[in-house]
Amino acid sequence: MTTQTTSTAGSEVDLRRSLRFGARPGRPSMVTWAVVVVLLAAAPFMLNNYQVSTLSRMLVFGLLAISATLLTGVTGLPTLGQAAYFGVGAYTAAIVARDLTAIGPVQVVLAALMAAVVALFTGTLATRARGVPFLMITLAIGEIAHSAATSWSSITGGSDGLSGIPRVIPLPGMDELRLDGLVYYYVLVMAVIAYLLVRALVRSPFGLVLRGVRDNEPRMRAIGYPTGRYLLAGFTVAGGLAGAAGALLVSVQRFVSPGDVGFSVAAVALLAAIIGGVGSLPGAMAGAALVVLVRDYIGTDLGGHGPLLVGAMFVAVVYLLPQGLAGVGAQVRRRIRWRRTEHPA
């Protein structure tokens, strides 16, 4: 009985918080943010080159996961197609870097624009469907993009990919970034900017409409919102964000191949979004970090048993963290509250 009452109290708190901030519960506080930012800023001083480049990859895949969660969580359209726009962005950035300019922000903006344009066109097909058909249409878009990346070798370099990409220059007049720690800082700054933009968007009236469509599309339509156009706009924004992430990937690994457009990348984006707790932006970031950590960092040392560990992680997350990483705080809170009520100190 006691747990019953406390959990009711908990949902009251959640409700108040969501009313105040207009978002789902489980959002980290200012203190948490400050600590995370300080730690992320200090990381290059504590970590070696490999660890820092892994951290850069976490940020890149974190942005991709946020783009997936924009559709999957915020808009309610589960997607397996974000790798397509990620790839469009990555190839655009690689070609811009090679033939036009090594200035990073230019690459990111052009990559995001290109990806958004492609997302706008493909999105008109995809947003006609909902639920599983939507999932499968996005899967098809992703697979067709992968085939195109492999076949169109005059542009993409075929299955062997594009290499020979110059090191990134963060701003005009600056030197190219030779050290992994500095590349990380560049990616961090760009990721933070992108994150803040997306956050502002999600909290804007536009984001509110998207969540409304997720929760009850017929009602939103009845109120007079052209829901189809809102979804297409959301799809385009998510595509642009994935494209920006692709551009950052190119700055980190200075290489792009059809593998970056593949099913596994799309799956990682969706899975990271689910692991994070659907709809939570910090959760998606953390989910991507966890997947990259387990798959790329620990996995390479396991003598080929990486997939086993990844599989075990998925199973564990489903049973142990029903609301994903974003729900961890609430879960612990509940546990503590339960203890406090049971054994008052």
């Binding site: 599983v132 085939s147 969706l270 692991i275 997939p307």
Partner: protein, 291 residues
């Protein structure tokens, strides 16, 4: 005339491949359409049956029978375990089920490849079915012709069981209104476990019979899963007729299609799916009454 014969043989090949896809996909479709569980470890169930065929077939009829029994039984067991694992998640939506079953697929796949090696392992059909016969002046493997017959009978049996029998009506009723069927005194959990077990058994049986056509190995589980998803989405989720139509269509796309349009071959599979979904988002044969 020669080109026509060439293409006709290719059409026959497409039928064989299409029926294989049907046996793989129909279980996924039933489990998804009737129980609303998205099972991404479906490809692993194919591996169960195919590795049983690899390990137990010795070229004799008895070897094949043994492989079918063991493979199907293992499939039933696997389906039961998956049903038990996904039951607590029934209120949490498809994404959590997807994450769980994909995790199971990774773990099970890894264990299989540890046990059977990391190479694709071929399975020969029973001695009596090896070799070729003349078909339109071309040699054609006997096993594939027999497979067409067996899989055709299987398709008919599944169709009758699910769409024409009382038992099938019960299953469909359970999906439509679980509370009502429960109130009538039926243990609905048994029905759910039953559908999952039968769906899994069909995939495993497809693996045992299909091993000589599509040998098990790393990556094959993912491939089977993706093909099955394509088939059931094209056909319509939860529809046996849809799975058959989708399987036969994709079978032709993957054989006659690449033969006529070799340059577009990499795009055909998903291009076909995209076309169908854009025109009919619910698939070619939507399951009656349901979304």
């Amino acid at each position: 005339m020669d080109a026509l014969a060439t293409n006709l043989v290719t059409v026959v090949e497409g039928v064989a491949f299409g029926l294989l896809l049907f046996t793989l996909a129909v279980g996924l479709s039933l489990v998804f359409g009737m129980m609303d569980v998205l099972n991404l470890s479906h490809g692993t169930l194919y591996l169960v049956g195919a590795y049983a065929a690899y390990a137990l077939s010795d070229g004799s009829w008895w070897g094949l029978v043994l492989a079918i029994i063991v493979g199907t039984a293992a499939g039933v067991l696997g389906g039961g375990v998956l049903a038990g694992m996904t039951l607590p998640l029934s209120k949490r939506g498809h994404l959590d089920q997807a994450l769980l079953t994909l995790g199971v697929a990774f773990i099970a796949g890894e264990l299989f490849f540890e046990a059977f090696g990391h190479e694709v392992v071929p399975t020969a059909p029973p001695e009596a079915l090896r070799g070729s016969v003349e078909l339109l002046g071309r040699p054609y493997p006997i096993y594939r012709l027999v497979f067409i017959a067996v899989a055709g009978i299987l398709a008919l049996a599944v169709y009758i069981a699910f769409e024409r029998s009382t038992l099938g009506a019960l299953v469909r009723a359970t999906v439509a209104d679980r509370e009502m069927v429960h109130a009538m005194g039926v243990d609905t959990r048994k029905v759910l476990f039953g559908v999952f077990a039968v769906g899994a058994a069909l995939a495993a049986l497809g693996g045992t019979l299909g091993a000589p056509l599509l040998a098990p190995g790393p990556g094959i589980d993912e491939r089977v899963l993706v093909l099955s998803l394509v088939v059931i989405v094209i056909g319509g989720l939860g529809s046996v007729r849809g799975a058959l139509l989708g399987g036969l269509l994709i079978g032709q796309v993957q054989t006659l299609g690449v033969s006529l349009l070799p340059d577009l071959a990499p795009f055909l599979l998903f291009g076909a799916m995209l076309t169908v979904l854009v025109i009919k988002p619910a698939g070619l044969v939507p399951a009656g009454g349901r979304r």
